[in-house]
Every structure is written in structure tokens, then in C-alpha cells.
């Protein structure tokens, strides 16, 4: 974001006045973080796209009432967290058994979460196998641990901000991140220096 780019608050003010261009600018600014986080949380790119759109539509609806009492990013991820957890609860209630695809019947690999990034071959410095291994390790974490890790690692939120987003205490946040970190360190020890 350059100095000439409007701030998040300025964009929200313009969105509240019905400025669609401001809304599109906001979407483009945060789409990767929102979409990417939801993909990592749910594992389905199609559902992630739908849910990510819902996040931004909720942001638009809330624009007239928006007050910058906290960081915009924190507020945005609170909306994301609510939608993701609602979707997870809905999934666990339906407990539908997915149909086996023809590919699976033939013994082929079904797409898992780690394969989602195969459509993004932009960064050649990223080792594909390492990325797959890291994503698989994160995917095996419990949902709350996974969300906390995403917010810490990719968004670099503070403990207080993560606690706000996840609606838990700061001490609970630290405890969750500690346990998640220990689990990930065991699984990813070969990629860490110690």
C-alpha cells in the first residue's frame, strides 16, 4: 500500500456511502488473506470462494455502522472466523459421506488440502513437497489450533488480537498456540534448524 492509497477506514467510509469502486479496492486488498485462510481452514477451494465472498458482503453491510475501535484486519478476521466456524458446525451436523470419484476408484489420489496450491506455481523458491508437508501438518490440527496458527503465522496478529478474533482469553490463546507449536515442531522438525 503506497502513501496515495486510501486507508481501510477511508475505504469503509466510502463504502458506507455506496461507493462500489471502494468496495472492490478493499476486496482486492484482502482477498488473498481471506480466501487463503478459508481454504486452509476448510480444505475446499469452491466453498472457500463462496465463504470469502460472504465475508466481504458482510463487511459491506456493516460499513454504515463500522467504527475503527480496533484494527480493521482484526474485525475482518472476526467475521471470517464466525463464518468458518459456522460452516464447520454445519458440516459436522450433516456428516455427509462424500461420493467416491471415478479417479479414486481407479486408485488415483483425491485432491487433499496440500494439493490446493498446485494452481499457484508462481513462487519457484517454494519447495512443493515441503509446502505439502507443512500444510498437511497444519490440516491435522484441531480447528481452533489451526485458526490460531493461521492468524499468527500468516497475519502476524498479536496474542491480544487473536484472542479478540477467536473470542477467547489471551491466556487461552497462548495455551492454544503453545500446544499447536509443539505439535507442529514435532512434525516439521526436519525443516527447523534445531
Amino acid at each position: 500500500m503506497t502513501e496515495a492509497d486510501p486507508t481501510d477506514f477511508e475505504l469503509m467510509e466510502r463504502i458506507a456511502q455506496g461507493d462500489d469502486a471502494a468496495f472492490q479496492m478493499l476486496v482486492e486488498r484482502y482477498q488473498r488473506e481471506v480466501y487463503g485462510t478459508i481454504v486452509r481452514m476448510l480444505g475446499d477451494p469452491t466453498e472457500a470462494e463462496d465463504l470469502a465472498q460472504q465475508v466481504f458482503i458482510r463487511v459491506h453491510r456493516a460499513a454504515p455502522r463500522y467504527k475503527p475501535s480496533a484494527q480493521f484486519r482484526t474485525w475482518l478476521f472476526t467475521i471470517l472466523r464466525n463464518l468458518v466456524f459456522n460452516e464447520s458446525r454445519r458440516r459436522s451436523k450433516s456428516k455427509s459421506i462424500p461420493l467416491i470419484s471415478a479417479e479414486e476408484e481407479e486408485g488415483g489420489n483425491h485432491q487433499d488440502w496440500a494439493d490446493v496450491d498446485q494452481k499457484n506455481p508462481s513462487d519457484e523458491t517454494v519447495d512443493r513437497e515441503r509446502m505439502k508437508h507443512i500444510n498437511a501438518a497444519i490440516a491435522e490440527l484441531p480447528e481452533t489450533h489451526r485458526m490460531a496458527v493461521m492468524l499468527k503465522a500468516h497475519q502476524d496478529l498479536s496474542y491480544e488480537e487473536i484472542a479478540l478474533v477467536m473470542k477467547i482469553s489471551v491466556s487461552a490463546t497462548k495455551s492454544i498456540l503453545f500446544r499447536a507449536r509443539e505439535t507442529l515442531r514435532r512434525k516439521l522438525i526436519e525443516y527447523l534448524s534445531k
Partner: protein, 102 residues
């Protein structure tokens, strides 16, 4: 760099978030526009609904007026009867006089 930072850096750098589809922002804006409530949508109701509504309103207004008129008429009759009784005159004599005048 401590252990914590190293792990988060590893995750951030070696497993970056995937990019959304190129059309994501445009689709989101289109979806937003589709969900926006249409102004004065009630004006676009079919004519038969308008006609039915006007008819219902008219009937209810007329019915209310008639109830009001009947209520007033009933009150007038009641008052006349009470007046007659209180005046002491024999109402039957008055009726005979009225019929005999025809």
C-alpha cells in the same frame, strides 16, 4: 531468531496462502449487487395484486361506514323509545293514530 519465530516464518514463507481466482473481486461485486434490495420494489407488483388490494381496502371502508351508520340508527331508535317512555305517553295510542292517518 527464536524457535517461535522460526516456525511461523517457515509456515509463512514455505507454505504461503493460495491466491484466489483472478475473477474473485469482480464476482464478489456482482454478487453484492445481486443481493442489494431493489428500491421501490413494491411498485413493480403485478396489476392483479394492485386491483385486489384496492378492492379489499374499498370493501373494508364501505363495511366500516355501514357499521357506523347502523350503529347510529340503532342508537336513534333506542333514544326515541326511551324518550317516549319517559314522556309518559302511551306508545300504542300514537301508533294507532299514525296508522289511522293512512
Amino acid at each position: 531468531m527464536n524457535d517461535q519465530d522460526e516456525l511461523w516464518t517457515l509456515i509463512r514463507d514455505q507454505a504461503p496462502l493460495p491466491d484466489p481466482p483472478a475473477w474473485f473481486a469482480a464476482r464478489t461485486l456482482a454478487r453484492l449487487r445481486a443481493t442489494k434490495p431493489q428500491p421501490l420494489a413494491w411498485v413493480r407488483l403485478p396489476r392483479w395484486i394492485w386491483a385486489g388490494g384496492v378492492a379489499l381496502v374499498s370493501i373494508s371502508l364501505i363495511t366500516t361506514w355501514q357499521i357506523h351508520v347502523n350503529h347510529v340508527h340503532d342508537q336513534e331508535v333506542t333514544f326515541a323509545a326511551l324518550d317516549l317512555l319517559s314522556s309518559g305517553e302511551n306508545p300504542h295510542n300514537q301508533e294507532e293514530e299514525w296508522f289511522s292517518s293512512y
